[in-house]
């Protein structure tokens, strides 16, 4: 296992994570909350969704695109830097880590589970499958670019 000596002070690393996480969280809040309705104030409650509304496309897109960008970044020059490099911490651990979320997806699946288990399993499988596909796509594109250069 490669070991890296942190080249930057603890304060810089903490600020990179906090700053990135703040921006990622704000982006997620804006995207997932319908600011034009009262639902915005009730983001923290999982309503039992109707089957027609059971697929939250916004969360699906956030997680899938976030995985693609994070994989793309980590397999590029950023991935060769120290895991504690401020730029890497800001973008991957902070912004993309704050934007994408496992717990919200699991919470939504849990709310749906009581209503229709088959749909919950299907949406869970689609979400994880699409994210894995996005990561695989980023991996393949990176490999082709490296072979071409």
């Amino acid at each position: 296992m490669p070991t890296f000596k942190p080249a930057h002070s603890l304060l810089v690393r903490l600020l990179a994570v906090l700053g990135g996480g703040f921006i990622g969280g704000a982006l997620r809040y804006v995207i997932l909350t319908d600011l034009t309705s009262a639902a915005g104030a009730r983001y923290g409650v999982y309503p039992v969704p109707s089957l027609a509304d059971s697929i939250d496309l916004r969360l699906f897109v956030i997680n899938t695109v976030g995985v693609f960008i994070a994989t793309w970044l980590l397999l590029g020059p950023m991935g060769n830097s120290s895991p504690d490099a401020p730029g890497r911490l800001f973008w991957t651990t902070g912004v993309l880590g704050g934007l994408t979320t496992y717990s919200t997806l699991i919470g939504e699946l849990g709310a749906l589970w009581g209503q229709n288990r088959g749909v919950a399993v299907l949406i869970g499988a689609l979400s994880v499958g699409a994210a894995c596909g996005a990561g695989w796509l980023a991996y393949q594109i990176r490999q082709r670019l490296e072979r071409g250069s």
Binding site: Y43, V67, I69, L75, G98, L109
Partner: protein, 109 residues
């Protein structure tokens, strides 16, 4: 939105602290810590969803920052490229299963 983002940032910080702790103290790859915090965050959401009737937005904000879909897949992809293929497959396959189990555990407590 500012409070939500601040709690999300704190969650990111906890994830980072767990990853550093895993690398320095336990001497394992950092994605194992990501797996652990993803499960812990899912369990917390299960606990909050089942037992908190009132709005628990800030818990979701914190857990949303602590858990990360991008790190759960990008880090194993990075490990795959570097040759740790068995570990990356194990992390990729166990993360969703472990998170679901942790959520169910949290909801049943």
């Amino acid at each position: 939105m500012l409070t939500f983002s601040a709690f999300c940032a704190l969650g990111c910080l906890v994830r980072y602290a767990a990853e550093v702790f895993a690398g320095l103290a336990i001497r394992v790859q950092r994605y194992w810590a990501t797996l652990a915090v993803n499960a812990l965050g899912s369990m917390t959401v299960g606990l909050a969803s089942a037992h908190l009737i009132s709005d628990h937005t800030l818990i979701l904000a914190f857990c949303g920052g602590m858990t990360s879909f991008s790190a759960a897949i990008a880090a194993p992809a990075h490990a795959w490229r570097d040759g740790s293929r068995r570990s990356s497959v194990v992390v990729l396959t166990t993360t969703p299963l472990l998170c679901i189990a942790a959520y169910a555990l949290g909801a049943s407590l």
